[in-house]
Every structure is written in structure tokens, then in C-alpha cells.
Amino acid sequence: MKAFLSGNEAIARGAYECGVTFAAAYPGTPSTEITENFAQYDGVYAEWAPNEKVALEVCIGAALAGTRAMAVMKHVGVNVAADPLFTVSYTGIEGGLVIVTADDPSMHSSQNEQDNRNYARFAKVPMLEPGDSQEGKDFIKHAFEISVRFDTPVFLRSVTRLSHSKSVVSLKEPVGAGGSPGIRHNRDKYVMVPAMARLRRREVEKRMSALREFAESFPENRIEMNDPSVGIIAAGVAYNYAKDVYPDYSFLKLGMVNPLPEQLIRRFAADVETLYIVEELDPFIEDQVRAMGITVTGKDIFPAMNEFNPGIVENALAEGKGSSQGLVIESGIPPRPPNLCPGCPHRGLFYAAGKLGCFVTGDIGCYTLSFMKPLQGIDSCICMGASVGMAHGMSKALGDDGKGKVIGVIGDSTFIHSGITPLLNAAYNRSNAVTVICDNRTTAMTGMQEHPGTGRTLQGEETVRLDFVRLAGALGVEHVRVVDPLNIQETKTVLKEELANEGPSLVVASSPCALLKMKESERESYYYTVDPTACTGCKICIGLGCPAISWRSFEGDGAPADQEKRSKKQKGVAVIDALLCTGCSLCEQVCTFDAITEVRRNDG
């Protein structure tokens, strides 16, 4: 049977078909849908873990108990999971363990574009790299076979362009649960104290040596001999771009990118006249091929950053032949960056915080989008959880000068991911920084996933709900306040009071995500409108940056008809789009001329 699946759906399907029964993950674009889809199959267990380190450790436990387990994360998640990763490489596993890393070349939805193939070499773990959905489904099966056969964790590397592309996939019946669960004591293998780790270290070398041999005959490492004047070594999506524009050249298509099949590469290099390596990001294959003493062209003509597309590959290869074409690209088109949604509770928080003249350390989530004009709500964003530690560090470094001047903001899911430890640190070391949890009761940025603060599991079942206030108390944070960020005045007052306090403070700005409210049909029964006879065109409401509010100049194309000026200076009026307005009331709160009023919806 054929289906049209995304890379993520296909990886989930492949795992199910080959008997994987266990998955743990933390949501992260572009990896999130793998776990969401996998969880829907019969007879499997899947969970959201608070972060990637925990997800991997949970999967190591499951694999040691003899099941086939899959830990899923985005590229930067592997940084968080790196600690267990490097040592499970020594111990090996019992049941089967695959770590899916979904990289994000071009940083469509990430803070960096690290090339996680380097982790495979660094941690001495084999890595497979599929190029489309069919391969995603096939390669996850290969990954588990290799894991079991060589007693090793295995990486499966996706990229955004695989995870979020769709293509035709043949479905197969599942083989039933793989592995044989049970308790097996094997302390020599799993207790990594120095004496035993040294013994396992040798096993790692033996294993990688066996895998190098395996790579030579692995059917997904294959030569496609054609016109021998040009040979291209490529893997994953880059292979498909190159194959699309140069179908007549010869290819060495690598399904396994670590370890590399040296003899196969040498044979291919000998059979072609000019050898190219087409790979996105780092010269990962190229450096190793050069180290074999083979002459190759790679990053000297291909970009070392951002994702490729067929045009980039075509032009880079054609450049020498002078056949690359110029294109007329329209300029001056207003950009359309992603924005905080109409009704987003973060808008109220950042509008209030923006009036206090503080340095605001930010974090990873929807609220990061507040950095744009007009809110310009955050001054930094490094990684998950960084806001809390950075605010404390900055506050300490500034001493008295920093008092009342530093705020760290972090989302609810991000706080649970890696904000708890730095908050403990802030309490322990008597910080003067104020930490704000933007609690919108979901993992909004990745598409509404549950987390320990929502009180529901991945499957939507009720579970224990983390109480931020009680947690902060237990960590030693004395001042803990809860505010509604959709009440600007209250939020501003509470922030001011906490900034004035001695010692660490936590403010929980609690209001559900606007999309979550829409999903749960909790839309307000009214919207807001601008009374054009009262609007003075002061633009204060425009300062909220709400997509539902626009400025209409009296002179432009979209000028409102028959508009009367309230003063000679007035240049236009604000207009609210009734379809987009969610009735959050922020604009009504900031308007000083009572020009914004509530209107009941007719459509219920």
C-alpha cells in the first residue's frame, strides 16, 4: 500500500513496522511529529520527557531492559543529551537504541545550524542519513538492525528538508514487538567506573572497526556508475538535489555517513575523472576523503552554510563552465516575519516589562518573537534555559548598579526543560534578578505539546501537574507572585515590586496560549473595534505589535473613506481586523482616548 508521508511520519512508521515499542523525546522543530505519530500506533509506549538528556536516559533504560527504544530530538537537543550519549557508546545496549537527530540547516526554526554528523564521529557512534520519506522508513529499520547486531547506539540523522517534506512511501505490515524484555545483570558492561570503562573503551574500537568493514558492503552505500567524467559523493537530501540537476553524472550515494566505506570511496574515485562532494554544512565527508589522500572538490565551490537546493548545486558545479544563470529578484518587498499571534498573552507581559528599562534575558519559545519591533521585548537568546542563569550572572556582575535592572524570561515548557536548576542556583546564591515564567500552559512554538506543567501526558491523559509556585518555594525563592499578563497594569506593578525586592523573585505570568484557547473553542464572545470619531491617531495601540491592528494613513491607498481629522496634526487612524481580533483587550487597556470598544460577535 502506498501513502504520501512526511519524513517524520515515515520514520515513525518505520519504527513501528520494525518492532520498536518505546520512544521518548522533547519536542523540537523539525523533529516533533516523529514522536507524535509514533505514539498513535498500537502496542507502543511513547512519552514527552522534560528534556533530551532525560529522554535519552529513559531510552537507555528501556534498551537495557531489552526493548527497542528510540530517542528523538532536534540537533541542539543532542547537546543536552551529550552526556549520556558519550558513555552509552561505551556500554552498548541490549535491546536496540537509536537516537534520531533532526538538524536544521538554514536555521528555519533554530538558534544555530550545527552539523550533528560531527557527534557521530565524536561519540564513536554509527550514523545513517536518509534522503526522502521512503528512505526515512527504511533507514530507521537498518539503524535498529545495526544497533542490535553491533551492540551499539545508532544515530539516524534527518534535516528539516527531509522531516518536513512529503513523498510516496510503500507501507508494510509490522513485524511485531522486537527484542526480549527482562532483567539481565551485566555489571562489567554497564557500570562505567574507570577500570571497567577502560575495558569497554577497547570494545568501542573493535566495534567501529567492524562497522567500517560493514560499511563497505552495506547496500545503502552504492555506486551508480554513469558518465565517468564527473563523480559525485553525496548523502541524504543533498544527493537528491544533485541527482535532480545532474542525472547523467556518476554517483556514490552514502546511506551511512559514519563510519565511511574507505575502499568503496577509493574505488569510485579511481573510476571517475573529477570527484566532487556535495554536502550541506561542514566538510564532514570531504575532510575524511582528503585524509585518504584523494583529490576532491567540495567546499571550495559549495557553501559551508545554509541548506542547499537544486539551483545552488547546479550553479556551483556549472560555475567553472560559465553557464550559471542570473535571476531578477524583486526588491523592497515588505518582509513577513513570524509574529506573536493576536491575543497572545506574551504581548501583555512584554509591553509591561518594556516600560521598566531593564535588560531582559530571553529564552527559546514563542516569546522569543517579541524581540522584533515594536515590542523589542528581549535583549538576548542563547539556548534553552539560558535566560535564568544569565540574568543571575548579569545581576551579580553589576552588583548594586544592576539592582532592579535585570529580568530573565522563560516559557513554561522551557523552564521545565532546563530552567529549574538555574533558578535553584539563583536562590542558593542570593540573586537580585527577577525570573518570569511565561506560562501559557503548553509547548506552543512546536505546536501545542503537553508537558509536566499542563498536567497531561503525550496521550492527553491526566497526570500530576507541576506547581511552579510550590516548586519555587522548595527551591528557596522567597518572593513568588502570579499575575495575568493580559492585565498590563497589574503585570507592571508586580514586576516593579519584585524588581525592588532584595533577593531572588519569581513571577509566574499565567494565561493560556491564544492558539490553545482557539483549539479548545474558548474564543471570547466579543471583539474590539476602533471608534473613528474618537481615535486621535496617536499610535499607542500600534505599539503592541498586534497583527489585528493596523495603521491607516489618510493619504495612502487604504485610507478610510470620509474620515474626519480630530486635529490638524492627525495623519491617520488605527483599524482593528474583526476576523483576527480575539478580544484580549490589551489595546483597549492602552488606549487613552476611549476609542477602542467591545463589540459582541454575531456568529456566536
Binding site: 502506498k2 504520501f4 522543530t29 523539525p30 528555519h108 526554526s109 526522502d132 528539516t160 528538508r161 518536513h164 517534506s165 512529503k166 513523498s167 510516496v168 537530501v237 537528491n240 538535489y241 541527482k243 535532480d244 540537476v245 542525472p247 537546493n309 537544486p310 539551483g311 547546479e314 544563470q325 535571476l327 531578477v328 529578484i329 524583486e330 523592497g332 518587498i333 515588505p334 518582509p335 513577513r336 516575519p337 513570524p338 509574529n339 506573536l340 499571534c341 514563542c366 518573537l369 522584533m372 519591533k373 515594536p374 512546536t446 505546536g447 492558539l515 499610535k539 500600534i542 505589535g545 497583527p547 491592528i549 493596523s550 495603521w551 494613513s553 495612502g556 491607498d557 487604504g558 491617520g572
Partner: protein, 192 residues
């Protein structure tokens, strides 16, 4: 590009139903016997960002992305987004434009103007340009949210896919009465 592979690029703004439309289009092409790949970036779409979805079909498709200058049909759900992606269209390509304006943030803030003379700029470069007010048509058909279906209908008038394939795909993609309503709007737009 490999011999017979065709490329359709759907562009617009998050929330316009573009990803849904490209899914329906792709599955219809698959049912019509083609190999199909499609690609877009998710994640930011719900937050008002621009959305583009590449759909490629043929005997055997490698890349899910079309190259710039390699697109056969540009299906644009918003006027200025047409300009943003115009360089993707190949010589002699077709443009189908929803005659709608959705203001970007810089225009909302009064910092920039919505570009003027969009049709003139497009028609100076391409001759096969179709404009349709998909929102109005969809409203007449019973629901403004079917604008993406109307756009698909116009596109389908340029594709060789049988009506029975479309019927199957619409029936699979929507429930009961909504499927019927969408199929009817689709057929009206295609046959207009």
C-alpha cells in the same frame, strides 16, 4: 531538472490553508499515477509568516524543492507574496493570483507601504496571468474558508487529472457534507 518533472509552487501567508491545499494536490497527483514530492517549512506558519510549498511530480522525482527559475505554475494566495517568489517561475510559466491583500507587519505599523502596481510588474514579465478573487467566490459557495479549494479548482483547469481522482481525494480529505461542499466549489472554480 530531470526530463519530465513538473513543479508547482504555492505561496501565501500562514493561515490561508496553503499546506492543506498542497497536500490535496499532491495526493491527487499520486493517485493520477505520478511520483510526487513536496516540501515546505512548518513551525512559523501559524504565526503570520509567509508560507511556500513546493510540489513536484513526474515519473521519478528526486528533489522536493524546485529551483529558482524552474517552476511551471505559481499559485499565489496573496498579491505581494507573488512578487516575493516571482523569480522561481520559469520562462513561459503560469501565475494564478488570489486578488487579496494581507498587510505585513511593517505596513501595519505604518513604516512601509503595501507595494503598488503589482499586476503591472508581473505582466511585464509573464503573459499567462490569471487573477481570481478566491475569497468572494468562496463566500458565494458558502464558506470563506474554502478559498484554498477555489484556488485548487483554478489550478486544476491547467492540470490533466481526472475528475474521479479529485472526487476521491476530496472525499478522503474532508468529512461528509464538507467534502461535498468543497468538491462543488472546486468544480465550479475549475470549470469557470
Amino acid at each position: 531538472m530531470t526530463g519530465d518533472t513538473k513543479s508547482i509552487l504555492l505561496v501565501g501567508v500562514g493561515g490561508q490553508g496553503i499546506i492543506r491545499a498542497s497536500d490535496i494536490l499532491s495526493v491527487a497527483l499520486m493517485h493520477a499515477g505520478y511520483d510526487v514530492k513536496k516540501s515546505e517549512v512548518h513551525g512559523m506558519a501559524q504565526r503570520g509568516g509567509c508560507v511556500s510549498s513546493h510540489v513536484r511530480y513526474g515519473q521519478k522525482v528526486y528533489s522536493p524543492l524546485a529551483k529558482e527559475g524552474g517552476v511551471d505554475i505559481l499559485l499565489s494566495f496573496e498579491k505581494l507574496e507573488t512578487l516575493r517568489y516571482l523569480h522561481y517561475l520559469g520562462d513561459g510559466g503560469t501565475i494564478i493570483i488570489n486578488d487579496a491583500e494581507i498587510l505585513p507587519p511593517a505596513v501595519n505599523l505604518g513604516e512601509q507601504n503595501y507595494p503598488s502596481g503589482i499586476y503591472e510588474r508581473i505582466e511585464a514579465m509573464f503573459s499567462d496571468v490569471i487573477s481570481i478573487d478566491a475569497y468572494t467566490v468562496a463566500r458565494h459557495e458558502g464558506n470563506i474558508r474554502m478559498a484554498n479549494t477555489v484556488m485548487l479548482g483554478v489550478l486544476a483547469s491547467r492540470l490533466d487529472i481526472s475528475d474521479s481522482v479529485w472526487e476521491t481525494v476530496f472525499t478522503e480529505s474532508f468529512h461528509g457534507k464538507i467534502a461535498e461542499q468543497n468538491l462543488q466549489a472546486f468544480r465550479h472554480a475549475r470549470n469557470a
